[in-house]
């Protein structure tokens, strides 16, 4: 028999975490597991902490509370650059429920928002206040270590952030892959680019070979060709019901090219 505990503060919930407890945010993944007999969960922990729902500027960028939903991201003026990402996560009901914090932990093929966070080099802010880069966070994600209070993202200059989700069912389909790119430009050339792929490995992954190949190029067919060639390098796609690993590798360059050339074809 399970129990549910509601804590006024996130810190309180974090302190109450035990071996067989699970934090529940929007619940889109946790309740699914519960409905299908999650025998490993004894206690569900909730928190009504208002800070979890906050979106605000601070020194290093914009701080997004872990409990902010996709619908709230879409509605936020500050987060307009992330609205195209949030808008393609699930259907309307899912977006009213799904949180940024939950997305950080969503397993393949989910985690589209986290792909964007990875490209933006976000910081993960834990309940005890310590920070961790998104990349090390993802690398160590499988071992649960406390609760996340917020993420912090820099605000990219207009047009420098791009996102592209590939799905078979539109709207609403789950990712065959998603790609986020942060492409800082200087004098018409790409600076230090960051490219992240979702559904191309156990967690969102950076395409570092392609990032390196983008340095200093112009965003045209010739300029991006070397990056497109190495698009899938360093990625580790798997077979699933949506697509085979082979297919994902095969089409990754096509979709990266569309992202980089800002082709509006999906």
């Amino acid at each position: 028999m399970q129990t549910v505990e509601t804590h006024p503060t996130l810190a309180g919930a974090a302190a109450a975490m035990r071996e067989r407890s699970r934090y529940i945010a929007g619940g889109t993944l946790v309740m699914r597991a519960m409905n299908y007999g999650a025998t490993g969960i004894e206690t569900l922990l909730r928190s009504g902490d208002a800070a979890l729902r906050e979106i605000r500027h601070d020194s290093g960028g914009i701080r997004i509370g872990a409990g902010v939903t996709m619908a709230e991201v879409i509605a936020s003026r500050e987060l307009d650059f992330l609205a195209p990402v949030a808008r393609v996560i699930g259907g309307p009901a899912i977006r009213n429920m799904a949180t940024v914090g939950g997305n950080l932990f969503a397993a393949h093929p989910y985690g589209d928002f986290t792909v964007a966070l990875l490209a933006l080099d976000a910081q993960v802010i834990w309940a005890d206040g310590h920070r961790e880069g998104i990349e090390p966070f993802l690398a160590g994600r499988s071992g649960t270590r406390g609760l996340v209070a917020a993420v912090q993202v820099p605000r990219p200059a207009t047009g420098e952030f791009r996102f592209h989700k590939v799905s078979r069912v539109k709207p609403k389909g789950v990712s065959v892959m998603s790609i986020a790119g942060w492409l800082p430009m200087a004098a018409g050339r790409v600076g230090a680019a960051r490219l992240a792929f979702g559904a191309m490995g156990p967690t969102p992954l950076r395409a570092k070979a392609a990032e390196a190949a983008l340095r200093g190029v112009t965003l045209d067919a010739d300029g991006i060709a070397p990056a497109v060639r190495v698009a899938a390098e360093g990625l580790a796609p798997a077979d699933d019901a949506l697509a085979s690993a082979w297919y994902r590798r095969e089409v990754a360059p096509v979709h990266l090219k569309r992202l980089l050339l800002a082709e509006r074809r999906v």
Partner: protein, 161 residues
Amino acid sequence: MAKVPVRFTLNDAEVALFVDPGANLLDVLRRGAGDLTPKHGCGQGTCGACTVRIGGEVHLACLTLAEAAEGQRIETTGGLANGAELHPLQRAFMDGFAAQCGFCTAGMLMAAKTLLDRSPNPSRDEVAEAISGNLCRCTGYEPIIDAILTAAAQMQGRAVG
């Protein structure tokens, strides 16, 4: 087993129930509150047959922890008609053959109502987007989209005079 109390309003009526900890809202609405209009199609959030409105926004009852409904305003298709008078959406679904087996209909209507509350004059694309979380396997989406647009036009007509 240790049940926990939950209170909410369901279609404007006060409901107070004891629920199993960890139960989902769909089970509680159907078996506890006796509102059988939301349907169980998948228990995974994929089909949308259990779509209800919480605080005026669409939610999936099967993925909502029953305790999270505490103090909320919940609406279902069971409360859509005004007594014997059908909501224009219900009429339009009837007239436009927008339901065949009827299993997805209650969820579709909740998604459609939420759209029209916010956007009384939606485009076809907006309608498709609004019902994108609701699967239909028999009617096909076209008659459903047509019906929602028809209802929107009728409601506008009435509002304008």
